[in-house]
Symmetry: C2
Subunit: 366 residues, 2 copies
């Protein structure tokens, strides 16, 4: 059953709202927040007082706009909080340290043994996290996010059957890592982490988006209505296994004519442009189905040919989406490059703690 809302939720909701505005605009003042949120200036003062006490914001001088007492300007302190993100790939563990606004401060890439076990990963994770946490002042490190291939269960924090990874069946990785690292841990699909990275950095105007990732498989991370969308079983985003060619070549998943197999065959014969066009068809399919207005391209197998993929996607979106004026979609490559998954895993932690609240949370938090 859903949880009810109380005064703590109310307070946290409004605090998070102000943090979101501060994050987007960098500096802010009382009157602007009041006008934008509908809060009274007095209420904004109370919110700002709480954020000052938490060390998240600080005064940043005054602004003289004309007659009257000058406006006090505040700014978010990016280094007031840190988070660590992990991207677990088939042969490497990529770790990043980010600050509160989603800037990547340090990156560590560690090789993982073939068919690595949970123990292998936990060891590598512990070592890397210790290294990255070294530079953070005590209490400023919020937690660790882990992004990896599914299927997995985000709510339970359990890896169900990570694709092409032996030793990874029903592993409660979130709780194992939380115990080993001694701090909060989140577990999510790589693609969902990736789209969270874009969303956290772009702010609240980035409400409906998809991140397409081509990297040993083709997946998509969904950001719908202002928050990550994972589906009923944390299994949304199996974008590569949508059939685009009835009776086409057999895919590893068992179906025929999946976008992924058609794409991979084009790539295998060296025809990047054809592969990009196939992906572009899938992108337009997704736009038709869920009508997002931001498409972000990413992944180690895509970025080396970013121009080809971006060009094909842009052309397809322009040509094939009914070109009504108000029906626009922006297509870009990720601003974070190969760090996007790890950085997004970190930002899932930040988003959990400081992001806009959706519905009342079950667990209490500071």
């Amino acid at each position: 059953m859903e949880k009810a809302a109380d005064l703590d939720y109310l307070r946290d909701y409004n605090d998070a709202l102000v943090v979101a505005i501060a994050r987007r605009s960098g500096v802010f003042d009382r009157a602007t927040i009041a006008a934008g949120t509908g809060l009274t200036p007095q209420a904004v003062s109370k919110v700002v007082a709480r954020l000052l006490a938490a060390g998240l914001v600080e005064p940043d001088g005054v602004r003289r706009t004309g007659v009257g007492k000058p406006t006090t300007v505040y700014r978010l302190i990016p280094t007031s909080r840190y988070a660590i993100g992990a991207h677990v790939a088939r042969r490497t563990l990529r770790l990043v340290l980010t600050d509160l606004v989603g800037e990547v401060l340090r990156t560590i890439v560690t090789p993982l043994p073939e068919d690595f076990t949970p123990q292998h990963l936990l060891d590598a994770l512990a070592e890397g996290v210790a290294t990255l946490a070294d530079g953070c002042r005590a209490g400023r490190l919020v937690g660790v996010g882990i992004g990896m291939v599914g299927p997995l269960d985000h709510a339970e924090g359990v890896v169900r059957d990570a694709h092409r990874l032996r030793h990874w069946h029903d592993v409660p990785l979130r709780d194992l890592a939380a115990e080993r690292l001694g701090m909060p841990v989140l577990l999510d699909k790589d693609v969902t982490a990736g789209v969270t990275a874009e969303a956290w950095r772009r702010g609240t105007t980035f409400r409906d988006a998809v991140l397409i990732m081509v990297e040993s498989g083709i997946g998509s991370g969904l950001w719908l209505g202002g928050s990550a969308y994972r589906g009923a079983h944390t299994n949304a985003g199996e974008f590569g296994h949508m059939v685009v060619q009835l009776d086409g070549p057999r895919c590893v998943c068992g179906r025929r004519g999946c976008l992924e197999i058609v794409h991979d065959q084009a790539r295998a014969r060296g025809d990047v442009d054809a592969a990009a066009r196939v992906l572009a068809v899938g992108v337009v399919n997704l736009l038709q189905a869920i009508d997002v207005d931001h498409v972000v391209l990413a992944g180690a197998d895509l970025l080396p040919h970013a121009d080809a993929y971006l060009g094909a996607a842009l052309a397809a979106v322009r040509a094939e989406v009914p070109r009504v004026d108000w029906l626009t979609a922006e297509v870009t490559t990720s601003s974070l490059g190969t760090d996007v998954i790890a950085a997004g895993a970190a930002m899932e932690v930040l988003n959990e703690e400081y992001g806009p609240l959706t519905s009342p949370r079950t667990a209490a938090h500071a």
Copy 2:
């Protein structure tokens, strides 16, 4: 900028939560609500007092569970509120009157002239609404919902370019109808209304769902994370215009091999089973992309062959979705038949006023 939350929001949130529970279970008691929501019994008493004052619930006797004072049982009064829903199709206007729990009480079907104008529709609407409103006690009729083909703008209440309807470009239908009818009006795509009907009737466990509608075109209504998902431009659900056959036959939309054209060609040659199999491929595609756990089939061109479509979809879901135990999806036909769109339009009105709150609303409401 997002709106802040205040005490009114807090109250409405918890009131709506209790209404949702009452709607699902019919009868309820203080202790069960308290346990499920995390509210104290005292807080639940206050909520119930407000709902009693609003006339939404009434005492329904007591339950003796053993020692101690018996529990007071309450029940939702289905007839305490009504809503009217309109399904605007190409040649007909279908109107339904529903009660608070989503039961269809009366249905009126009115023919519409070919290439009907906004004025035609408003006249027919006013007459039908007057007839249906006649049986409702004053103050119990919440409003009117209108479901029709897109593209349209739900937030603005404007019909942009209704497909295959002349005279319907940038028509502010919501405000026109609200003025004419003298009550609140909502405007939404037919498919979104349809899935809202299922969601309202099934309760809060129905969180992630898609309604597939085959009726002069193929569309889908999305219910994601417990609320309707309309996309960035109210254009989500153009399910029929997803390419399933690269270089296939040319579709009216300009692309090649859209699900809709492939499906329609199969139907045109009388091969319902083949058409159903094509649709089933699209259903599995959607499951892969957004991982819903409920699929509802509807539409005037589907329901006469419900068995074929349902069978094909069930077979495809069972055979083609990776059959992990925890990855299940239910496939059914709509329980409302041809009334589903009109009924859903009515339930959008109920959902707006009495459904679970998501984020703080902009406009104040009673």
